[in-house]
């Protein structure tokens, strides 16, 4: 963004003294654009998720409001706007009204460090990853406030469960990111992307067995942070009606839900940036990409495509898996994820040292892990083919119904 501020300065022929104000202006515009992007993404994802979920369940999702139902989320949003602003009688009014905002701010603030292409990033903090983990901790505060202030035992349970879950899963989240930081040597997101290459065997996910494990660890921990199935016990419909956001209606409810869907994009973006090569184009050096707007656009499209694949997988998992009980969730975190994360960091350090000495080992490992990833994908495809063949319904690809 500083680059753009600079170019804008030169273009407008503004004296140097006013650089600060131009910078603030550029940041403001960027924040607006990023927020709009996030909100649009959240809305469209809600429609998209409903369509995908419906097709998995042999039905059609919303397809009436606007072409193919794409304006459904707008109507839901407007409906929520127009609802009565209910605050329960015995609830703690200031806290109740305040609670959606930390949740929303926590998620939206991550857009500061999320890169969209080689030069388009809010502010490429050199502690980007740490900033991400820290700022999403605001969500915990918001959820606790929501659960407590609604003055209902059910919401209290939901809020406390959610807080425990999120706080616990921040540790494997951080550990798995550290596993990746060891070979890359930098905490900034743009730095991590520049360290990787465009081609799959240059991605950080296939760089060593430890980063491969860290990918799954991070993905699962991010799901737990985002309260998505199989970790959505705090908002489990069948147990707590809606957990901490039971008493919320209208716009406040929308804040919680927008935060959740926006979080989908954030998870997808971070996973892509850290593990899947970000905006790198195969065979193109990042400096060349930073110089050419066309290549930047291609990079952005690639980045978005990879994030969308990750978002698709998250949606797919939500509608396939049942949810874990709170103690099983905690057990998994503390007994499985944290030890694996810690061991991975140590092994990653050893591996990095080894690879510095013998670069060929790194190449071989990448190719080997790529093959392993392909095998897992092939196993999935084989099972899908079996599922197709074992039931009489034929494949049908028409989605515009």
């Amino acid at each position: 963004m500083n680059v753009y501020a600079q170019t804008l300065m030169e273009w407008l022929k503004v004296p140097e003294a006013y650089l600060v104000y131009v910078r603030i202006g550029v940041f403001f515009v960027y924040a607006l654009v990023a927020l709009t992007f996030g909100a649009l993404f959240a809305g469209v994802t809600s429609w998209y998720e409903r369509r995908v979920a419906a097709r998995m369940q042999s039905r059609i999702g919303p397809n009436r409001v606007g072409p193919q139902g794409i304006l459904q989320w707008l109507c839901d949003g407007v409906k929520c706007f127009l609802k009565e602003d209910l605050v329960p009688k015995e609830a703690d009014r200031p806290l109740f009204r305040l609670a959606p905002y930390p949740v929303f701010i926590g998620i939206v603030s991550t857009f500061v460090v999320l890169p969209f292409s080689a030069t388009v990033v809010g502010s490429d903090l050199n502690v980007g990853l740490v900033y991400l983990i820290a700022i999403t901790a605001l969500v915990v505060a918001g959820i606790l406030m929501a659960g407590w202030s609604s003055n209902s035992k059910w919401t209290l349970l939901g809020g406390v469960r959610s807080a425990a879950q999120m706080v616990s899963y921040e540790i494997p989240l951080a550990l798995s990111l550290l596993v990746v930081v060891v070979p890359a040597g930098t905490l900034s997101l743009q730095g991590l992307i520049r360290f990787q290459g465009g081609a799959p065997w240059n991605w950080l996910v296939f760089q060593s067995p430890m980063t491969f494990v860290a990918f799954f660890l991070f993905f699962t921990s991010a799901l737990a942070e985002g309260n998505r199935t199989p970790f959505d016990l705090p908002e489990a419909e069948s147990e707590l009606v809606a957990g901490y956001n039971t008493e919320y209606s209208g716009l406040r409810f929308l804040f919680f839900f927008f935060a959740e869907w926006m979080n989908l994009y954030v998870i997808g973006a971070i996973v892509t940036a850290v593990f899947l090569g970000g905006w790198r184009i195969p065979g193109v050096a990042w400096q060349r990409q930073a110089g050419s707007p066309l290549l930047e656009l291609v990079g952005f499209a690639l980045y978005l495509a990879k994030s969308l694949v990750v978002v698709n997988v998250i949606i797919w998992l939500r509608w396939t898996l049942p949810r874990l009980r709170i103690d099983q969730l905690m057990k998994m975190c503390w007994k499985y994820f944290v030890p694996i994360g810690m061991v991975s960091i140590v092994l990653s350090m050893l591996f990095t040292a080894l690879v510095t000495a013998v670069p060929l080992l790194g190449r071989i490992t990448s190719i080997g892990l790529l093959v392993l990833g392909g095998l897992i994908g092939a196993a999935l495809l084989r099972r899908t083919a079996y599922a197709f063949s074992s039931f009489p319904d034929k494949p049908y690809f028409k989605w515009m119904v």
Partner: protein, 380 residues
């Protein structure tokens, strides 16, 4: 045990008193639970029933026998054929009426189709309560085919009013058997295997259900459980085999019994698997019944106005939820003197009350779902 006393007692102590109220997404109807919990762990879950009481047994006292059959549908609307069947069996016992063979086979075909439909909802909503929403809708999709079949047969999709005193009301329409065979070919083993792959063998579901609310064999019998709940605890008791009625003696089937498939004997996972296995057995029964279906009348010669002689009778069938029995006392008039309905879900409520101690809140939901209760059956 008074509501006020429970509240006072709970507030005096260290425990939370949670109200899993009449409206709740997972109580399978309008049932209320007062849950005394110490954080996540429940010490007691007291059921409060009666929210769906409609006085069906009292209505029977002023309704002629033939006119009461639509009301029996509403006793358990997910397994309505069984309710019809039990009632007409009780009346026929009083009248000493013999039902023609073809009518018996048609009754069994209707019963077993209904059992599959009911179990699909049972296992589907159990999966849904545990968090997997897709298997429920797949089950509903298959159940739609059964609904279409019963619509072809008797005109109703949920409340059938199919059986009459002395037989059944309509004979099979053209194309019914072909369509039923098509459904069976698709369902067993294709759908059941796919269901097991989707959710039955899913590690997370197994972890949620195994070792949860284990009911031992003796305990199950003491609590008066019946049906899949009892069989999952290891007790091999099935009215169709042990106190045969209708044409079940001619048909061959196994009775699936729980054996601790992935957890302990009599836990929630056993109840889940027993229902899935029972669906397979129902499909087997249906295939045999289609093959052995004799020709003949579909209704015996029953008097125009049904006035059974004074006496009492008990007609029971093995419903999808346990033993469904109608105890009928007649005084020789046009309407019963007293009709009492014994349902499987009502006995399960006591089991839930006893077994909820020590469960976590999430386990209570699993216990409720695995016991397969429906509120109308409890309250009638």
């Amino acid at each position: 045990m008074n509501l006020q006393d429970i509240i006072v007692e709970a507030e005096g102590g260290q425990q939370m008193l949670l109200n899993m109220g009449p409206q709740h997404p997972s109580t399978h109807g309008v049932i209320r639970f007062l849950v005394k919990a110490d954080g996540e762990v429940i010490s007691e879950a007291i059921p409060v029933v009666g929210y769906l009481h409609r006085g069906i047994e009292k209505i029977a006292e002023s309704m002629p026998y033939a006119g009461f059959i639509p009301f029996t549908d509403r006793v358990d609307y997910l397994a309505a054929m069984f309710c019809n069947h039990a009632f007409v069996t009780a009346v026929e016992k009083l009248l000493g009426l013999e039902v023609p063979r073809r009518a018996e086979y048609l009754r069994v075909i209707a019963d077993e189709m209904n059992r599959i439909a009911s179990h699909l909802i049972a296992v589907g909503s159990m999966a849904m309560d545990i968090g997997a929403y897709t298997p429920f809708l797949h089950g509903i999709r298959e159940r739609e085919i059964i609904n279409d079949l019963t619509e072809m047969l008797c005109g109703g999709r949920l409340t059938y009013n199919y059986m009459r005193i002395g037989g059944v009301s309509r004979d099979l329409p053209d194309g019914f058997l072909k369509r039923l065979k098509g459904f069976l070919d698709r369902f067993d083993p294709g759908f059941i295997n796919e269901f097991n792959r989707l959710i039955g063998g899913n590690e997370i579901l197994v972890r949620r259900c195994a070792h949860v609310a284990t009911i031992g064999a003796d305990e199950a019998m003491d609590m008066g459980l019946a049906g899949p709940n009892l069989r999952a605890s290891g007790v091999s008791w099935d009215l169709r085999r042990d106190m045969p009625y209708s044409c079940y003696p001619d048909l061959e089937f196994d009775v699936p019994v729980g054996r601790g498939f992935r957890g302990s004997l009599g836990d929630s996972y056993d109840r889940f698997m027993v229902r899935i296995l029972e669906m397979s057995q129902s499909a087997r029964l249906l295939r045999q019944a289609i093959e052995k279906l004799p020709d003949g009348d579909i209704q015996a010669k029953a008097p125009r106005k049904i006035k059974p002689p004074a006496g009492e009778s008990y007609g029971a069938v093995e419903s999808a939820r346990g033993e469904l029995g109608f105890y009928l006392v007649s005084d020789g008039g046009e309407t019963p003197l007293r009709l009492k309905i014994r349902t499987g879900s009502f006995s399960a409520m006591w089991a839930i009350h006893r077994k909820s101690a020590g469960c976590m809140l999430a386990d209570l939901v699993v216990l409720l779902a695995s016991a397969d209760i429906v509120a109308p059956e409890i309250d009638r």
